[in-house]
């Protein structure tokens, strides 16, 4: 195998890596060939000593899966897994600081908590909905990638992890959540709700008022000329047509008004219940 073939085979094998990395690696092997050639070696000789491009690429690819070092993980992050729910349902899914080792080793996510055995008498934690699934999915992906690259992937014994209810991880932010909810309700939600209600009433009232007005105008002013009467009838017809359209508009307005109100009340309820759960850490 000559230099050109070797390099292109290597490049093809590495295509899963970021292109910057591939260029870096390829450059190093090109240099290796060039130095060898300058020492009077044959390209095929150099290639044979390098080992096959497949073998070499395999090492790079398996290195790109973070190796798992149980000892490091335990030293780095004794009590806490990187599953940190913060307020209002946001989730940090990559660990920070000392938690990074575990996050890194498991492909960014901790194992879902449900299989972990509680230690130190802490309550058995509940998996945190979407994150738990994501963690499990990434975990699977991690194992699969390991299998594809042919490298033995040593999986940690997750049951050894000390686990904790995630609410212990983030200091209780009861005041913050509740304050936010109260202020938002008073200054944003209630004014918006009143405005929406007023618009809704106006929307419903408008055809009624104009319809009645037309009829009244027609009957209460007996001295109207024929022209004015005809004009009034036209007005009545157009009002009737507009009313049909308005019925649709009003239907959706009521629907979204009601749904919006329900959603908001549920959301506030969630915040409050989170506070009461996290408040005793």
């Amino acid at each position: 195998m000559n230099k050109k073939d070797y390099i292109s085979a290597l490049r093809a094998q590495l295509k899963r890596l970021p292109s910057d990395d591939v260029e870096d690696i390829v450059k190093e092997f090109e240099t290796h060939f060039e130095i060898g050639i300058s020492e009077g070696k044959k390209e095929s000789e150099i290639a044979a000593k390098l080992g096959s491009p497949e073998e070499v690429a395999q090492i790079y690819l398996s290195d790109s899966i973070p190796a798992f070092d149980m000892a490091n993980v335990q030293n780095a992050c004794p009590p806490v897994m990187p599953m940190v729910p913060v307020k209002t349902g946001m989730v940090i899914d990559r660990g920070v600081g000392p938690q990074t080792a575990a996050g890194f080793a498991t492909g960014g996510y901790a194992k879902p908590l449900q299989n972990a055995s509680p230690k130190n008498g802490s309550p058995k934690p509940e998996p945190d909905g979407p994150l738990a699934h994501k963690g499990a999915k990434d975990h699977e992906e991690y194992v699969k990638t390991g299998a594809q690259t042919g490298k033995k992937v040593d999986l940690p014994d997750y049951s050894q992890y000390p686990t904790q209810d995630p609410s212990h991880v983030v200091p209780a932010s009861k005041e913050h959540n509740t304050l936010f909810a109260v202020l938002f309700t008073i200054f944003v939600f209630i004014p918006a709700w009143i405005l929406a209600l007023a618009l809704l009433i106006a929307l419903i009232a408008w055809p009624v008022v104009t319809g009645i007005g037309t009829v009244l105008l027609f009957s209460w002013v007996p001295g109207l000329s024929a022209g004015v009467a005809a004009g009034t009838i036209c007005l009545g017809i157009s009002t009737a047509l507009a009313t049909i359209g308005e019925i649709l508009v009003v239907f959706f307005a009521i629907k979204w008004f009601v749904l919006g109100t329900i959603a908001y009340i549920r959301y506030i309820g969630k915040i409050m219940s989170k506070d009461s759960k996290g408040g005793n850490a």
Binding site: D24, I25, E28, F29, E30, T31, H32, E34, I35, G36, I37, S38, I46, K49, L50, G51, P53, E55, V56, I59, Y60, D63
Partner: protein, 105 residues
């Protein structure tokens, strides 16, 4: 030599070779492939891994003959790691030697 043995000590060998002087990949690969019979190509991924772990640093330097060479040097962290690996190695070989019946090499 047993493949597992080689893999285990490759880090140690590379770090130890860089202890006294900076070297470029080709040099390291040649020395290692001659002494512990590994293929040249395995040295480069290892260097890359050591670099990403912050144990070695690299820089380019022109040479009189041939292309510019990528030299590797030991970082402070690399020196610490080398010492740890050396201690491990010495302790390990000492205990293995006890078992296999040779007090010292």
């Amino acid at each position: 030599m047993n493949v597992q043995f080689k893999k285990g000590v490759l880090d140690l060998c590379v770090l130890a070779m860089l202890k006294d002087s900076d070297q470029y990949g080709y040099e390291l690969a040649s020395t290692l492939s001659e002494t512990i019979m590994i293929s040249d190509g395995t040295v480069y991924p290892l260097l890359r891994k050591l670099a990403s772990d912050g144990l070695v640093a690299s820089y380019l330097q022109e040479s009189q003959s041939g292309p510019p060479r990528k030299y590797y040097s030991l970082t402070a962290m690399g020196k610490i790691r080398l010492q740890e690996l050396l201690d491990d190695w010495n302790a390990f070989t000492a205990s293995v030697n006890k078992i296999v019946g040779r007090e010292s090499v």
